[in-house]
Every structure is written in C-alpha cells, then in structure tokens.
Symmetry: C2
Subunit: 400 residues, 2 copies
C-alpha cells in the first residue's frame, strides 16, 4: 500500500515540486530562420549591421543642402536645379525610404515645392538633418535585437531576415519518450477490431500529438507488459530522452509497478494527486529526466497531461508557459466537484442567441470516448469550491 | 485620386464586406489521422463500430449469473466456483474493462466477495446487467462522432483511432499566393547587404510564416515591379490560388497600381481603411479569389494582415475563428489614437513585482523594424476612444 497515494498531494503543490525539479534543456542546434517559428534562441542575437545602413529619406521630396534654402518661404521662394547629384544650388528627387546623397543634409517635403520644368521653387527652409533617417537610427550595429530565451514569432523572423541573418542557434526540442504499459493493450498499427478485452493503444498517439504541439519531439516506444522488470528495463532504456511519459500502470493495484520503478531508479516526488479525473498520477525524476506517470484511461490521462505534462514539457524545452484559451459561458446544469480535488468537468459548448452555454457532460465511468469527442472544454473547479450551480457564469478552458 | 481611399472605410464594416464576399473552400483531400491536428473534416464521421464492441466489466470482480446469487448477503453468503467459463454455480474473475463472458449477466464487485481456495463467498446479490457496460454503451455504431466542419484536436484523433479509423477527408489547405511588389525590393535569397535605397523583401517570408500558422499553404511569387501590366499579369497568373495577398503598391501615389488592377479584373470592395497603421489597405475579390492588398511597410502590413488577412484566410479554409490571446496590463504611459481610426499601439510587456506593465513604444515613421522586435503585443484602441492614460488597465493582444 502506498502512503503518499493515500495522502493525496494537492495539484498546485505537486506541480510546483515537479517543476522545481526540472532543469531546462541546455542542448542547442542551428536552424534556418524560416524553420524557427516558436523556437527559443539560446543566446542573445546582436544586429550584424545598421538599419538603415544608409541615410534614407523619411518623406517624398527633394534632398537638398539646407544652407542653400535658408530663409525660403512662400513669399520668398528659392529656386533649385533638379539634378542627379547634389552641389550648390541643386537638389535630387527622393521617395520615402530612398537613399539620400551624401552631399545633402536635409530633405524638403514635396508639398513645400513647386516643379517648374527642371527646377523647383522651394517655399520653406529646413534644418540640417530634417527628414533624414540616420544610419543605425532604427537598429544600431551590435545592439541586442533578441535576448537569450526569446521565443521567435513570424514577425521576429522577418526582422532577422532584414538584418541578413539566415540561421540562428536555438534550444533543441526535448525528446519525450512515450511508454505505454498494460497487458490488455495492442498497438494501433494492428488496426483490426481488437479481440474482446483488448484495447487499442490510443494514448501514445494522443500524447505524441500534444507533445509535438508543445514544441517537443515524441519518441514512440513499444507497449510494455505489466511486469516490474520489463517496465524497469524500458524506463532505463529511455533515460537518454529528455522526458518520459508512462501511460497506465499507476494505480495502487498489485500490478501497478510504475511508481515503484521510478522510486527505485530515481526519486518519486508524488504518487496520487488531488485531481479528478487523474488521481493516480505519479511524478518523479530519474537521472535528471522528469517522469510523468499518467493514468491509462484516456480522459483521466488527458487531464493529467494538461495539468502536469504540458507545463513540465514546456519548462524542459525552455519554452514560456502558454496561457490557456478560455471562454465565458453560462452553465445549463449543476457541476459537482469532489471535495479536496481540483476537478476538470467536461462541458459541451453551445451558442444560443448570442450567448455561450456550457452543458455539463454526464460521464459514466467507462464512457470516456464519446465524452472526449463531444466536449469543447473543461470547467476547472478549485479544491475549495464545492461546485457550480446552473446559471453560473464560468470560465471554460478550451481543449486544445 | 481615389474617392474610396479618401472616404476611409471603418475597420468593422470593411472586414464584414470582405468576409461576406468569401466562399469557404470546397476542395477536400484524404489524410492520415496522425497528420490531422487542426484540420477540418468535410463530412460528418459516423462510428464504424460499437464501443465497447464487447460487453465489458465496469468493476474489478467476478462475472456471475445473477440468478445464482439471489438473496446473498453477509449473513447468508452464496458459494461459487471460480472458473474459466460460466455455468450454473460458477464465476469468472474479471478486471475493469475486461470481457464479460456471454453466459454471465452481472459482475459482483471484488469487495462483496471473499476468496476461499478456488471458491468465492458472495456476500451481496446483484441485479441483471449490474456492473456491465453494454455493447455500444459509449459509442453506438453509425452514431455521428464528429459533425462536418469540426476542427480535429489531438484528443479527437485518439477517438478516431480507437474506432479503427485511419484516414479522414478534410478540407484542403487554401493556397495563398504572396505577391510582393516594389521597384526597390530585392529577394531575400540575394542575402548580401542591399545597396543603398534597396530593401530586402522580408514581407513575403513574414506573410508565408503566418499563413502557414493559420492552416494555409503559402505560394511565394517573384517580386513584381511597379508596372501596371506586370502587376495585372502576376495577379491573373495566380487566380488558380485560393487567396492572394499583395504586399506593397497600395497607397494613392501615382505608381500604386494594385487596387486599380483589382478593380479592373474583379471587384474592389474597399481601398483605404480606418486602421492605424495600415490605412492604405485594399480588399477585393477577383473570380471568387479574395485579394488583400496590404501596405509594404512591415509594421503596417502586419496590422493589416492580422485585422483582415487572418479572419479571411481562416474563413477561406473552413477554419473557425481563433480567439486572440490577451493579457491585462497597466499602461506606463499615455497612448493616443487617431480619431476615426482603430489604432494598434505596440507595447513592450514587462513584469514588475507580480504586475504586468505595458510600455508604449514610441514609433518613429521609419523605425519599424526594432519596434516589431521589441513589442510583445498591441493595445487596440477602438475608433470612438481617444486613447488611454498612464495607469489605465488595458487588454494587450499578444503578437503571435
């Protein structure tokens, strides 16, 4: 019998223990910028050149020597030659963003001039430097553009491209080994109707797809039978990964060896959490590799994966926490919670005359498949709240 | 001079006009379920089999014939043989989820039995059907699992896998042709420092990366010079795409031909919107292909892409609107807006003793590059609001 399992660790505390034990990955790799949306840079990036790297006009107008037009005004205009070079008494037409010849020290706006043949009548004076963007005005050479740890967005990659940067060094994606356990499991690729009592291993695929979405690389492992030695061997074989998710085998039945294996190979932090569904979850660390043991029932496993796996995998991969997408909705029925548990209640989202409604799903023990397909989100009920009443406005966390 | 440009269409109205003119794509394709996270199914999916497809036990216990244990109680227990088959007076041990032999009609919980050698003492009676999950209890064969238009999540794909479905029919990804225009543009692949007055085409890459993120497929086109015939030809050549984004060439300068080309080939809906930055945006439809003409300045183009491109591309691809990720933050300085414009003010997000602060970026006309790199989000100021004061709590839309 497992003491900690009986004691039931609070979700917040369990998550903190787990995250504190996780060291973000140090491994890095070079990648082309166009492959780097969502990647995190492992060292600060300096601007390799000035932007602009030439003096550019901030206006449509004429590059001039400001000394040539001192005192110009509508009543006292100055005539300048329009030319290809600047010398005393001449000007060069420029558009916004264009190169301003070195000999010019200002740009006079188009609106302050009148074209007369190959001359312009200048009707205003300008200060030296007026309407010219200096070299390095936007980005100065060697300035830090992005700090270490910044997660690159598409617009950032455009900025890198404009600086002539083609490749950056980013943290590698953490490799997440996915270990399905269970005697009744059969691999998904044996896709015929499983014989009675057998279950297709759908969790591996589900975990793998989420892990990929969260910026990691799944490693799909073979199904391991409920045998202590085999589970230990499979776990050891995957300690070269950066994270291990074990699916199934984490209750306190006599055959549920997984948390015991974690404890014997490394440090079991938590076994049994105040999470509903998802109570049998166990968390540990073996040789600096975080291990999440999640329940084999897909719906309970999913909740454990969201509550513990996602933040832990993000931390492992040096990725910032992702805020959950939530919508406000009105409950069409009561939701009860389990005292002392953080409850994830599945709801169907419906639109009704401009209002969003959340219809609680009545989930029978085994009826997990259809409930996952139907539910749009979770109402997360904290430990100290008894539940919510019909008509309450609640936050629904959308299932990603 | 362009009348509509002068009139300035409101952002909300312009977006509605554009979206109403867009027909979601009808093209479909088959795809393996593991490639379908985020894809939208083009017809409803029916369950090809029952789940469970066998009668399964809802408890750890013994499958029995309920008639054999009528009246059983702690004071009046009934003895049953533990066997491999069910016949009168025998029972079969079952775990949760396991196959219940056809001859049994109930499962008695482990807790209500005492093992004695190869016999059990049964200390409770059960109704027929008790603790048995019937065939199809969870999902019934031919029941609709997902409706047409549902966007598949990883957990949905697990549900499909469990039903033995390997492949689904989804809407094709819309092909978005990206047409950069401008005489001063040079392709990114010519990655040396551009000569003075020349600008690297970074917009194509930026648009392409966002478009990919939004579930579409970018088609990168060659840079087109500011020549009416060439722009018309390039546009015509891309009418086999599902969407066209033209970058640049959309002001009202004499060389800005793009909206004129849209008007002559199809229907120009809007030219000039109350969006700051992003005013020169034009929207139109040619042969059912939506065309977004966005300003060539990256920061203004980005705002136009978010305000009009994203919802339009999602609609084209049959994808649901994505809610923006927002955070609440306190302004460290005043933000002014332009009257009659929806203003996207860029802010730097900072954490200060547990509070999130939004520091407005002072963006000089040309200083667009560094402002994009630095800003974490936009404060979007509606047309009828003058601006926000220092200390105001505002919603910051995170730049994705």
């Amino acid at each position: 019998m497992d003491r900690i399992m009986k004691e039931r660790t609070g979700v917040g505390y369990a998550k903190r223990l787990f995250l504190e034990a996780i060291m973000p990955l140090k491994r890095t790799e070079k990648a082309e910028i166009s492959d780097c949306v969502g990647r995190v840079i492992s060292s600060s990036i300096l601007a390799p050149r000035n932007v602009p790297h030439y003096r550019r006009s901030a206006m449509d107008g004429f590059a001039v020597r400001s000394a040539d037009i001192i005192g110009a005004s509508p009543t006292n205009p100055v005539m300048l030659q329009v030319s290809d070079d600047i010398e005393e008494g001449s000007s060069v037409q420029v558009s916004t963003g264009e190169y301003v010849p070195d000999e010019a020290d200002a740009v006079i706006m188009l609106e302050d001039t009148i074209s007369i043949g190959d001359m312009i009548e200048v009707r205003a004076q300008v200060h030296p430097g007026k309407n010219i963007g200096d070299v390095g005005e936007d980005v100065r050479k060697n300035e830090i553009i992005f700090n270490k740890g910044h997660q690159l967005r598409a617009c950032d990659i455009a900025v890198l491209a404009s600086l002539g940067i083609k490749e950056v060094t980013v943290y590698s994606k953490p490799v997440v080994a996915i270990l399905p356990t269970g005697n009744d499991l059969i691999p998904l690729k044996d896709n015929e109707v499983p014989s009675p009592g057998k279950t297709l291993d759908i969790n591996s695929l589900m975990i793998g797809l989420y892990v990929t979405k969260w910026g990691a690389e799944p490693r799909y492992c073979d199904i391991v039978s409920e045998d202590r030695d085999l589970i230990e061997e499979a776990t050891k074989n995957n300690l070269d990964a950066d994270f291990i998710v074990v699916s199934g085998g984490t209750s306190v039945g006599e055959k549920d060896f997984v948390p015991g294996v974690v404890a014997s190979l490394g440090k079991k932090l938590v076994h049994g959490v105040g999470l509903s569904p998802g109570k049998p979850t166990a968390l540990g660390i073996i040789d600096n590799v975080p291990v999440l043991c999640m329940p084999g029932y897909p719906a309970a496993g999913l909740v454990a994966l969201f509550a513990f796996g996602k933040p832990a995998i993000l931390k492992t991969g040096n990725l910032p926490e992702m805020p959950d997408l939530t919508v406000k909705a009105r409950l069409t029925g009561k939701i009860n919670s389990r005292e002392g548990y953080v409850s994830y209640a599945r709801v169907i989202l419906e639109e009704d005359s401009g209002q969003t409604l959340a219809r609680p799903l009545m989930t029978a023990g085994a009826g997990i498949l259809s409930s996952m397909a139907k539910s749009g989100g979770f109402v997360i009920i904290p430990e100290n709240v008894e539940g919510y009443e019909e008509g309450n406005e609640v936050d629904v966390v959308l299932i990603e």
